[in-house]
Symmetry: C2
DNA sequence: AAGGGTAACTTGCTATGCAAGGTACAGTAG
DNA sequence: CTACTGTACCTTGCATAGCAAGTTACCCTT
């Protein structure tokens, strides 16, 4: 049981939230999403992202459009569907609730907001 | 891809943190831990808790002491070791960092602390 | 034609949460 | 003294999902 392992475990839980959130502002293709999350110090790798995007897609939360690139292969730009947008809202709510629960557990005596 | 599923996923990441935190205040036996987390609206079940406690133990983060019960079988009271205490501190730090990262992702323009 | 860079995707492994089932002890009712 | 009930601990098998590593394919440059 290593710290890195546990930290990774914590990250997993918010992956969907972060990815949906990342493309909610503007459509992105996979590599952009990776870089975006990396810049926020949330490590994600290809082998994780692609299957997850596929899952999100088959759940109807995201869709995509192909676009030619100036140099290199075409890119698959992901965009949030209406359904995905609602899902993201709920997910954000859940995340806030979870945060509150953990706070209550770890600081039971504090009444500060 | 259901919301409940994803919410469960988020919960998983903080299980260790919550359990260590739960016994950090006072020694508890499994059923008490379950009830404690449940009261904070963090659902955990036996089949999850026991293997996790076993892992924490073999990692040297917790130890336990048997104690007779007034009625019923003896109880295994778990206590945090020195090592577990340090681990809990690091985990808490990691959790706060994660929270910050998610916040930056989901509210990039806000400068409020 | 060959090589390099970018992008999308797949395969196999492993960790782990969880439902369901199992064992054991103690007190109580019959 | 046997059977039942309640409490507590623990195990087994399944499904999910992240991740490392490998694959395919496109395009541009040399």
């Amino acid at each position: 049981m290593k710290l890195d392992n546990t930290k990774a475990q914590m990250r997993k839980g918010v992956l969907e939230l972060c990815i949906l959130s990342s493309i909610s502002k503007e459509r992105k293709y996979a590599t952009e999403i990776l870089n975006h999350l990396k810049s926020a110090e949330l490590i994600v790798v290809e082998g994780t992202l692609y299957p997850l995007l596929a899952r999100l897609r088959s759940a109807g939360l995201v869709s995509y459009e192909w676009e030619e690139s100036i140099s290199g292969p075409p890119r698959k730009y992901y965009i949030l569907t209406k359904k995905g947008s609602l899902f993201l809202e709920e997910l954000t709510r859940s995340w806030n609730e979870l945060h509150k629960s953990v706070k209550n557990l770890t600081h039971p005596k504090s009444n500060k907001s």
